[in-house]
Amino acid sequence: MGFNLSPSPSLTHSSKPSLVTVMPLLTQTIFHPSTTISHRHPGIACTPTRLSNPRHLCLLLSLLASLWLGAMVPSQSEATETVVHRENSLYQYLLVLEDKEKNERYLVNREKTTLYQGGVKLDTPDQLLFEYSRISFLGLAYLKQLPKDALFIGMGIGAMPRFMAKHFPENTIEIVEIDPAVVNIAKEYFSFKELGQMTVKVEDGRQFIKRSKKGYDIVFLDAYQGETIPFHLTTREFLQEVKARLNPGGVVVSNILSPKKNKFFTSMVKTYNAEFVNLSIYKGKESSNYVFVASGQAVTPEVVWNRAKDIQDGRRLGIDLAAINQDQLVSSLPEENAEILTDDFAPVNLYQHMEEGQP
């Protein structure tokens, strides 16, 4: 049973490696494009046992597990994260963790995971901690002029809308989040506030899109259930419904978590390409996220670079969007071995777990 619109996963760095007696086998970082995703791995908790040499056993198990998963990085990290809040909502299990050393707070769905639904550095709450959320604002450079109306589907801790409200205060910002508990957590633990022209609506993203009569210049799609986009938010029909809500020249920015360029990735590319004239994809360096920027008109990277420069300087974003455009644009978009996902046929769960090149 997949549920909907939860926040925005990003696989990112976590605590520094160090040795402790109780060490969950969890990979902390996805450093390299070819690195296997690890947060899905059940993890072997190596607790001290009555065995004569528990640490050896632990090491052995870690080793075995890492062999099994290929490139997984078995880190032995000290859990410097403390639980600030935990809650079982209507849709998911929610945990707010705090890393005292780094002075960061995260929203996650599981006890031991590196899949963050949101995160913030507590002394700089207005900045974007996660790379994919910074890349996402490159979507603005695909617009002819600065946006007036923005829509966020999937709220997380509200970092992106907050950033938008700060740097583009003239914008109306709508946020749609299915889980009321996520909205409350964002407010209570991540100092999120509905400022001025910002509204939060608790609803399924697709239902909102279908009912909405408004037009948007930019739509951010970042709705996840754990590590998965709910299938009804991946399909061609959904993209058509989103397109119908775009103002002329409007842009869709989508966070696609995909540790491999497998059939899930290629099918997402094919589905977006089927509905949008232009699709530019940026690859995260720090995480397994891709950011899809889709729009109805072709734009050259040079034009995007120029606009990105103007926006980052004019609005003091503190993000080098132009550099991201230059370095992280994915040049070839594979469409072989891919299906257009539709409401009728969208086996995203299966595709996500496939290897690269596996038909």
């Binding site: 549920f3 909907n4 399924d204 239902q207 279908k210 709910p230 399909t235 959904f238 409401d343 009728d344």
Partner: protein
């Protein structure tokens, strides 16, 4: 034959339920509300089917009548792609809220087929039972086969079928299977036979 029917109908009910979640999702999401609506609708359909199927079975039961019980959902399944989207969209436009919306859509789309498939169980039981001495075993076997079929239907659909074909094709294929089954039943004549071990003691004593 009876056993096969019960097994297949059991499989189709649950397969249809899994596929139903996909049918609801575009309009109603796949939240706990959508699942709750879906499951309770199927259970309501089945229990109504058990009741009316049992009642009908007491009025001169025949395989021909059973074939009609199977052919009704066959037609509903084969035409499903033509009415499912209009019905779901219509309910969506009523804007009944996150609970009532999926519930009404579920009832309109799934209640009738599950009612007919539910009616198969008591009806086949009636046809298969000819001696009260063995009725317990007969009913038990049919229950077991039906539920076994449901397990196969659930797993096959969620693990495999949904990854190889579209939802509408799968539902129509099930309609096709029911059509074939109903067709065979229409011309078949199933009567129960009193098991040998029940006859013998009487023969010995006489």
């Amino acid at each position: 034959m009876i056993k096969l029917i019960v097994f297949i109908c059991g499989a189709i009910v649950m397969s249809f339920e899994i596929l139903g979640s996909r049918v609801l999702a575009p309009n109603f999401g796949s939240s706990v509300f959508a699942w709750g609506s879906l499951i309770s609708t199927f259970l309501a359909g089945l229990s109504a089917g058990y009741y009316f199927g049992g009642k009908a079975a007491d009025r001169s039961p025949s395989t021909r009548k059973l074939s009609l019980i199977v052919l009704c959902p066959a037609i509903l399944f084969l035409t499903f792609p033509f009415y499912s989207n209009p019905v779901a969209d219509w309910v969506f436009d009523l804007n009944l809220g996150i609970r009532l919306g999926p519930l009404l859509a579920s009832i309109l789309l799934f209640f009738l087929p599950s009612l007919f498939l539910g009616a198969v169980s008591p009806y086949t039981a009636k046809l298969a039972i000819c001696s009260l001495h063995t009725s317990g075993k007969t009913i038990g076997t049919l229950y077991a086969l039906s539920t076994l079929g449901s397990i196969v239907g659930t797993l096959a659909t969620s693990f495999y079928l949904i990854t190889v074909a579209g939802v509408k094709v799968l539902i129509m294929a099930q309609g096709g299977a029911l059509l074939v089954l109903g067709g065979i039943l229409f011309y078949a004549n199933i009567r129960c036979e009193i098991p040998e071990w029940l006859k013998r003691p009487d023969e010995k004593h006489s």
